[in-house]
């Protein structure tokens, strides 16, 4: 088992306050090892995306513990969470590309989050990654002129361009055809093998389950199953 980069202990999460509050997660415990590809599955409303956003510093952790890259997120201030988010890559179900930036410029934003740098170097890095994802001919296209699948590939390139420690992906292959979807997930796997990049992915796509190192199933805010994926015979990190 590799060292865990995410450790979740007794995590509860509530939406709303007072009597109107609704509990979305119940005593979730999970550890995710470095370099692994973990898939979160479950029906709609089971808490997958909520868990993903809590682990990705996109929501405040109010109860329990989430250790991310050796930092406790429960009670963490905004400055720490921003710093940690810079070490993460996000791929959202809705690609959320900036409609007035070209494909290249959208990807460059993934590098510019780290401060001033050489724009030419940023552009070269963006072009390289877009080329790997089959968009070498679409560098100067605005999102409005790209197909859904092409936009999603730009979003993936934006998440990967800064070599993040962990990639959080929410239905990243929903808009991709089979070949593109498999290529994208293969790229995540390759990054895990070569750079130790960890991927946590929410998906309903059965085509990519074969590539998972681990599959975690949630129902009604609880982990009901946690087992190795077909790509690995033993779990990368055991439930805590």
């Amino acid at each position: 088992m590799t060292e865990p980069v995410i450790t979740v202990r007794h995590l509860d999460h509530f939406f709303g306050e007072g009597e109107a509050s609704k509990q979305a997660l119940f005593d979730v415990n999970l550890a995710v090892g470095r370099g692994s590809l973990t898939i979160l599955m479950g029906p709609s409303g089971s808490g997958k995306t909520t868990l993903l956003t809590l682990m990705g510093c996109l929501r405040e952790v109010g109860s329990g513990s989430v250790m991310l890259l050796e930092h406790e997120l429960c009670g963490a201030d905004e400055a720490l969470r921003v710093d940690l988010r810079r070490r993460l890559g996000f791929v959202f179900q809705a690609h959320n590309l900036h409609d007035s930036l070209t494909a290249r410029q959208n990807v460059m934003m993934g590098l510019q989050v780290h401060g001033r740098g050489d724009p030419a170097r940023h552009a070269r890095a963006a072009d390289h990654l877009l080329g790997l994802l089959g968009l070498g001919e679409r560098l100067h296209y605005l999102p409005g002129n790209l197909s859904g699948g092409q936009k999603q590939r730009v979003a993936i390139a934006r998440a990967l361009v800064s070599n993040p420690n962990i990639i959080f992906a929410d239905e990243p292959t929903a808009a991709l055809d089979k070949v593109s979807g498999m290529a994208a997930v293969q790229l995540f796997k390759e990054l895990g093998r070569t750079r130790g990049t960890t991927t946590v992915m929410v998906t309903h796509d059965p085509r990519i389950l074969d590539l998972a190192d681990r599959i975690v199933t949630l129902e009604d805010g609880r982990i009901v199953r946690d087992h190795p994926g077909p790509a690995r015979n033993e779990p990368l990190a055991a439930p805590v």
Partner: protein, 392 residues
């Protein structure tokens, strides 16, 4: 432009790219900013023209000392009279080189079937030349003939073209206050908010026009000072010569500033203009806020994505400031051009002294940038308070 701004900012010019992505919206936003500029310029122009019209009569005088009545002494044209004896008392001061009495009156000049103008008369003694603006000294001599006047060619509501060639040898007759006068020369002063024109006459002619007035009670007394004398010190020393609360003594420039302040802050017209300036600024900020907040709302998901990626609030403030400066800098020029045209038209139609000044243009430009920046920062509050996951 994108490459230039990228080098300048050290990052992609997201604000610029956002604005130029939708030319129609950009034009609408620029029109909004330009309109806000016009609003502010119009109000400032009217307020400025009032201040300028108040100042114009004071410029007839050399910058010496002015003795005014303590009653209603805030204005040059409406002040109460004071005894001419105050002039003789002042002459004992060693730094006072001389003095003259000024008589001020107002009359309506009916020059046609429907044309009438409110004329401000200044009655001047024959020795007043050395206390007046240099340009008035020579024409003042021609007023020595009784019932003559130097008429204001900028007088409103009257066709003054026939008076332009008036000379002592070829006076142009006109009637006012039921009395026949002859125009023997011209001045170009113009009307303001209190009158339509200014005519200069001798003190004797003044008493013909206003028989109820007496040479013993001038409206003001103008004093000449020795070279190098400090007007403030002399004024303070002169006050000691008079019974308490019988005179107000001010330098001409101070009296002018005092009246401008009085007219702008205590008289209804000035307050209305000042209120108009405030309203113009508020409307300008509201327009800028609407433009920028709509832009923020339209890009909230993209901003949320940037926030999720780890961009700090300062980055978003930078984008909105970038947009604010671009909108302010581009929208200012059509606003300035339209306002200058408006000033010219208004000046042509009314003869009020309204014109664009560099100081006002710069102030409005800086104010526009600040207003747009403030509006943008206000528009960003929603993004600052939200957690990234709540924005998707």
């Amino acid at each position: 432009m994108t490459a230039f701004l990228t080098r300048l900012l050290g990052r992609l010019p997201v604000g610029y790219l956002q604005l130029t992505h939708s030319p129609g919206r950009l034009l609408a936003a620029l029109a909004g900013v330009a309109f806000a500029n016009v609003l502010v310029f119009v109000q400032l122009g009217l307020a400025g023209s009032m201040a300028e019209s108040v100042a114009i009569p004071y410029r007839l005088f050399q910058p010496n000392l002015l003795i005014l009545s303590p009653v209603e002494s805030e204005t040059l044209t409406d002040a109460a009279t004071l005894p001419r004896q105050r002039l003789f008392q002042a002459l004992v001061h060693p730094d006072v080189t001389g003095g003259t009495s000024i008589y001020v009156g107002r009359s309506t000049w009916i020059s046609g079937h429907d044309a009438s103008s409110s004329i401000q008369f200044f009655g001047l003694a024959s020795d007043a030349g050395s206390f007046l603006h240099d340009a008035l000294a020579a024409p003042l001599v021609s007023l020595s003939l009784s019932d003559t006047a130097l008429v204001d060619t900028l007088t409103r509501f009257v066709d003054m073209r026939g008076f332009v060639g008036a000379t002592p040898d070829a006076p142009v007759p006109f009637e006012i206050q039921n009395r026949q006068l002859g125009a023997v020369g011209n001045v170009s002063i113009g009307g303001g908010f209190g009158g339509d024109g200014v005519f200069l006459v001798s003190d004797q002619t003044f008493f013909h026009l206003f028989p109820q007035r007496s040479s013993a009670t001038p409206s003001h007394i103008l004093l000449g000072l020795a070279p190098g004398a400090d007007p403030g010190r002399v004024a303070a020393e002169l006050v000691q010569l008079y019974p308490p609360d019988t005179v107000r003594i001010r330098a001409v420039t101070d009296a002018m500033a005092q009246e401008v302040r009085y007219q702008m802050t205590e008289r209804p017209t000035g307050l209305i203009f000042a209120f108009g300036v405030v309203i113009g600024m508020v409307v300008g900020i509201v327009i800028a806020y609407q433009v920028l907040s709509a832009d923020v709302a339209d890009h909230l998901r993209e901003y949320a994505t940037f926030k999720a990626m780890g961009f700090r609030q300062s980055f978003f403030i930078g984008i909105i400031l970038e947009e604010a400066i671009i909108l302010a800098a581009i929208g200012f020029w059509p606003g300035l051009a339209f306002s200058a045209l408006f000033y010219q038209t208004l000046a042509y139609l009314t003869n009020i002294p309204i014109f664009m000044t560099p100081e006002r243009a710069v102030a409005v430009f800086v104010g526009t940038i600040l207003a747009c920046a403030l509006s943008g920062i206000l528009a960003m509050r929603k993004l600052a308070a939200a957690q990234p996951a709540d924005l998707f």
